[in-house]
């Protein structure tokens, strides 16, 4: 059930309501208008839906969830990770541009772009979707299990800037829809929105009724067809009702992890940590090498210029030699039979429900990342490097 703590309510409403309004448009004109979205026609709602707390019955078992995912091509996840922040103020955009790897100053209003918050050593603190409502109003969306590194990474460098972070976690309920059939599912769920041209980073929004904002952001969080649905409190019962009508039940975060690992998509907290830099993590597309200084830029530019990236992220599968063999765990070191030292480490693992095979992701030194290479973990398990997904 979505609840709003009094303090969070004040902060979040600051973000949504204390925005400059266009001409005659008031709050009653629809908060969706404040986001630069067209306001959808009000959807007739049964009164009981408004009283519903938005709870959905989850799948009864992992196998049940997997079967449903295969049949439908899409799964609904209530993520137990991630956060949403409002970042407001006349310096908010400029500050974030100065602290992160991608160029966001040219981001058009009403669109989103991903950027990497790095530390002074050029290592990853967080990877953030920045949705720009206007020069003064941003929405920051992260999949990190803990929001405090991002918060600290921004707030400790907010000195004379007019910029403020507001945690909207308790104000915006989030769901992920993932899987190859998701686009069809989302078109049926939210027919008011225009999904005719949706690439990764596309964001659509509407106001179902006064204050009932629903945002849909296409990401690649678990693979190319991943949509993050965010709904303000007033819209949660309606969105939950639509999920239920479509037969969608929330599935465990385990399935999200399986799909993500199958698609070799890194996530903050597992692959994307302060142990690695964005080049090692394969996030070169999120780095603008011409934008000038940002925190950690000097290190990242040097690594790129002198081709000093030593390791890369790869997928692997475990070669099970005995029926009772243990599965590989995150954190295990990886070595090669031909050298007496570590060549990498395991970051994530997941069980393929279809054939009970273990798949995973790991960082490996470049010389050992060719598809088919067999390596041994510190616990004696054998893994085989998979081709890029």
């Amino acid at each position: 059930m979505l609840t709003i703590a009094p303090s969070a309510q004040v902060a979040s409403r600051d973000f949504f309501i204390n925005l400059p309004l266009d001409s005659q448009a008031g709050i009653k004109g629809g908060l969706g208008a404040l986001f630069g979205f067209g306001v959808a026609s009000p959807t007739p709602l049964d009164s009981h839906l408004r009283e519903n707390d938005g709870s959905l019955a989850p799948h009864s078992s992992r196998d049940d969830a997997y079967r449903d995912f295969i049949a439908r091509g899409s799964a609904l996840i209530e993520p137990q990770f991630g956060s949403v922040f409002g970042h407001v103020g006349s310096d908010a955009l400029d500050l974030l541009h100065r602290l992160t790897t991608n160029s966001i100053l040219d981001l058009p209003n009403g669109s989103a772009r991903r950027t990497v918050l790095t530390n002074e050593k050029g290592r990853i603190t967080d990877v953030i979707w920045v949705f720009k409502r206007s020069d003064k109003e941003l929405l920051l969306v992260s999949d990190a299990p803990d929001a405090s590194p991002m918060r600290n990474g921004i707030e400790r460098f907010t000195i004379i800037e007019d910029a403020e972070l507001n945690d909207l976690k308790d104000f915006l309920k989030r769901w992920y829809l993932i899987g190859p059939g998701t686009e069809g599912v989302i078109r049926e769920l939210l027919p008011e929105l225009d999904f005719s041209d949706t690439e990764i980073g596309s964001i659509r929004g509407m106001d179902i009724f006064d204050g009932g904002i629903v945002l849909a952001l296409r990401t690649d969080a678990a693979g190319p067809q991943s949509w993050l649905i965010m709904a303000a409190e007033a819209a949660v019962p309606e969105v939950a009702s639509r999920f239920a009508s479509a037969g969608l039940q929330p599935t465990s975060n385990e399935l999200f992890d399986f799909v993500r690992i199958k698609n070799q998509v890194p996530i903050v907290g597992k692959e994307l940590t302060e142990d690695v830099n964005p080049l090692e993590a394969g996030l070169i597309d999120l780095i603008d090498f011409d934008k000038g200084c940002y925190v950690g830029q000097e290190v990242i530019a040097r690594l790129d210029t002198y081709d000093k990236v030593q390791r890369v992220l790869v997928g692997f599968t475990q070669i099970v030699r005995r029926e009772d063999e243990r599965f590989v765990s995150p954190g295990e070191r990886i070595s090669s039979p031909d050298v007496g030292r570590d060549v990498g480490w395991v970051t994530s693992v997941a069980n393929d429900p279809k054939n009970d095979e273990l798949i995973g992701m790991s960082y490996l030194r470049k010389a050992y990342c060719e598809s088919g290479t067999q390596l041994t973990t510190s616990e004696g398990s054998v893994i085989k490097v998979l081709p890029n997904a």
């Binding site: 500050l95 100065r98 002074e120 000195i159 004379i160 200084c293 940002y294 000097e298």
Partner: protein, 120 residues
């Protein structure tokens, strides 16, 4: 007096602008047609090391600025930035290999290659 000696000799609760830096700042102001202005020294988030210096000619201090007069020029420092700048000497380095205005900041634990960014 060399910069290191100046840094040792100034109280930690102030910022010093060398005669050369003050003279250069006033020269820039004159060229810009601004006879009556001050030099704002501030710090903002960003740069390779996390914090970067800002130098700006401004008409007067903001409410939250600390005001210091150094070698004939008024210097305005936002109080929130002062904690990062206390004890700093602002100098000017000219010549072919000169780097222009240079900050010698005792609070900086690390400075990036260009000298505009630092970490504390």
């Amino acid at each position: 007096m060399v910069i290191a000696e100046q840094q040792q000799s100034i109280p930690i609760n102030t910022v010093r602008v060398t005669e050369k830096a003050a003279s250069k700042a006033m020269e820039f102001a004159r060229k810009a047609g601004r006879d009556r202005c001050g030099l704002k020294i501030a710090v903002q988030g960003g740069g390779c090391s996390g914090l970067q210096y800002i130098l700006e000619l401004v008409d007067g201090p903001d409410e939250a600025d600390k005001v210091i007069t150094e070698n004939g020029i008024d210097v305005y420092i936002p109080k929130r930035a002062f904690v990062f700048l206390a004890g700093t000497v602002l100098d000017f380095s000219d010549g072919l290999n000169g780097r222009g205005f240079e900050f010698h900041n005792p609070n900086a634990k690390r400075t990036c290659g260009c000298g505009d960014s630092f970490a504390v």
